[in-house]
């Protein structure tokens, strides 16, 4: 009940954020403009449109998660709206959970809208969308949920700017985790190798959520893989939300 009240309010507040509409505009422009690249590769235009559109859903979804998510808790403290909320008989983790759920709902709608635009565009070009396309969207959303959990954690411990930088870095590194262990020989046995190996095991491998190439090429992906990737993301998401709740538990506001 309390969590839902906070979630509903977070959603209402987020849909008033101008950043959301700016990013949605760019996302729609990218999706609709993807045909331009399709012309370069003759006969491949639908495939290119799907590929670029799914990338746009992912990138702009992540940008929304970062820009809106990293200020979620911080803004409540900064604007002092949190005073009259935390003084209610509610646990602080309920507040964090509510903020997260509100954001998850917003991203679900944003992802659904971008997917609808892509689907309509692909169909209008004479192409078709299959199950793998929607599996790819589902995994993109699951990745957004993980990124949002990290953004909420950052929002409860640091400023939006620093939080956004950290989350964006984690997103970039998370998509290229192999570079952390495929080191040149002169790093072998050094502290650098040890630290980077630790980072490799701590940072989620976000490539696990990337089946965009399969979706663009119409290659089937086993449902078991999708479920595994979702479980993998859920473990990280829950851990990050627990950390956010712990960080917020004793925070003076």
């Amino acid at each position: 009940m309390r969590i839902l009240a906070v979630a509903q309010n977070t959603f209402r507040e987020a849909v008033r954020d101008k950043v959301l509409y700016v990013l949605l505009f760019f996302a729609a422009s990218t999706i609709l403009g993807s045909k331009a690249l399709g012309w370069i590769s003759i006969g491949q235009d639908v495939k290119i449109v799907k590929d670029i559109s799914l990338a746009a859903v992912s990138i702009f979804g992540v940008l929304i998660a970062i820009f809106v998510g990293t200020s979620l808790v911080y803004k409540e403290i900064d604007k002092r709206t949190i005073y009259t909320i935390i003084c209610r008989p509610m646990a602080r983790w309920e507040f964090i959970a509510g903020k997260y759920l509100g954001m998850a709902l917003l991203l679900a709608i944003v992802t659904a809208v971008m997917t609808l635009v892509t689907t309509g565009y692909v169909l209008s070009l004479g192409g078709s969308v299959d199950a793998t396309f929607f599996q790819a969207v589902l995994l993109i959303y699951w990745e957004l949920l993980l990124i949002t959990a990290l953004a909420v954690l950052m929002s409860s411990v640091t400023s939006p700017i620093l939080g956004a930088l950290i989350v964006f870095s984690a997103f970039v590194v998370g998509h290229a985790t192999t570079i952390l262990i495929d080191l040149p020989d002169h790093f072998k046995g050094t502290w650098t190798e040890f630290v980077l190996t630790c980072v490799y095991y701590v940072i989620p491998n976000l490539s696990n959520f990337n089946i965009r190439a399969e979706a663009a090429n119409g290659v089937a992906v086993a449902p078991a893989y999708v479920l595994w990737a979702m479980a993998y993301g859920s473990v990280y998401t829950i851990m990050l939300l627990v950390l956010a709740s712990l960080a917020f538990e004793d925070k003076d506001v």
Binding site: R2, R12, Y83, T84, I86, C87, R88, P89, M90, D252
Partner: protein
């Protein structure tokens, strides 16, 4: 059982570099009885808001303990009894008063029917019906304060904690808040409010506590606190022969001359009576006989000086 009690409560904030700052609150022990209006006085930065934030669960104390109706403020259940009005309350700008109260009702765990009843009751009390569909962003300071009071009353809490409730309000606004506080006392609630405006406190408080630099220097009924001081008496006399005047000036704590006559201040009523008797027998006249009661302001200033 006290409505609010604190025991050696202390709070030391840390700077961003984790360096400890001077304590904001230093061993605060106070008790607020049930169904009383308690004024928590102190200058800006004395630790009033820190105390209030600890009571409301916004800030964790670094030592000591605080209880609301016998429950430690560390437990969230304690907050079920509290209605809190922060200084300059902020609410979601895009909500209307009705939506705002509904939101806080949900946070308080009230069902839909209870929230509807709550709106009827509180909106009438705070005169919110005319502005029920206006967005908070269009509100004046006084309207926000009224809404803040309404939010504090959601869930019918037994203890109201108000941080500078009259700050920034015009005389009518201050009066309406004072009347609300007294009305809440009539409804058997306990009201704990901070202020640095002594006039407001003197008018409505049953008891006060004075906080100076994070330490409580005194607490009790206003008349008790002021009664602990000597009650000086000022008399104004005229027509005094020179010898008698010098005799009385020697007995008085202070003496000055004005158009009204000779103002002589004596340490108590008995000394003043003796002086008047002497003056009258020697041909003098009594113009005025005024017991000088120490004001709350005098007491407050003394408390500051004592710690300084």
């Amino acid at each position: 059982m006290d409505a609010i009690s604190t025991l050696e409560l202390g709070k030391t904030y840390r700077s961003s570099l984790l360096r400890a700052l001077p304590p904001s609150l230093d061993g605060l022990s106070l008790s607020v009885h049930e169904n009383e209006v308690f004024g928590f006085l102190g200058r800006n930065g004395a630790g009033k808001t820190t105390t209030i934030k600890i009571l409301c669960g916004l800030v964790r104390q670094t030592r000591g303990e605080a209880y609301v109706l016998g429950t430690s403020v560390r437990k969230r259940h304690a907050r079920r009894h509290i209605g809190y009005l922060p200084e300059n309350p902020y609410f979601y700008e895009y909500l209307t008063p009705r939506e705002t109260l509904d939101f806080y009702g949900r946070l308080h765990g009230l069902g839909a029917r209870e929230r509807a009843v709550e709106w009827d009751k509180v909106s009438e009390l705070l005169d919110l019906r005319d502005i029920a569909s206006q967005r908070v962003r269009e509100f004046s300071k006084g309207m926000r304060q009224r809404l803040g009071f309404a939010v504090a009353l959601v869930g019918d809490p037994k203890v109201l904690i108000l941080d500078e409730p009259m700050s920034g309000l015009d005389p009518l606004g201050r009066r309406s808040i004072r009347e609300l506080i007294l009305r809440m006392r009539d409804e058997k609630k306990t009201i704990f409010f901070s202020s640095h405006v002594l006039g407001d406190v003197e008018q409505i408080c049953d008891r006060v506590g004075i906080l100076v630099k994070g330490r409580l220097t005194s607490q009790g009924r206003i008349d008790e606190l002021l009664g602990k001081q000597d009650n000086l008496v000022e008399v104004i006399l005229t027509g005094l022969p020179a010898g008698v005047l010098s005799e009385l000036e020697a007995r008085a704590l202070s003496a000055r001359l004005s158009e009204a006559g000779h103002h002589l201040t004596f340490r108590d009523k008995q000394a003043a009576n003796e002086a008047v008797r002497l003056a009258l027998t020697q041909g003098g006249s009594l113009v005025e006989f005024t017991p000088l009661k120490e004001s709350l302001e005098d007491h407050f200033v003394k408390a500051q000086e004592m710690i300084s």
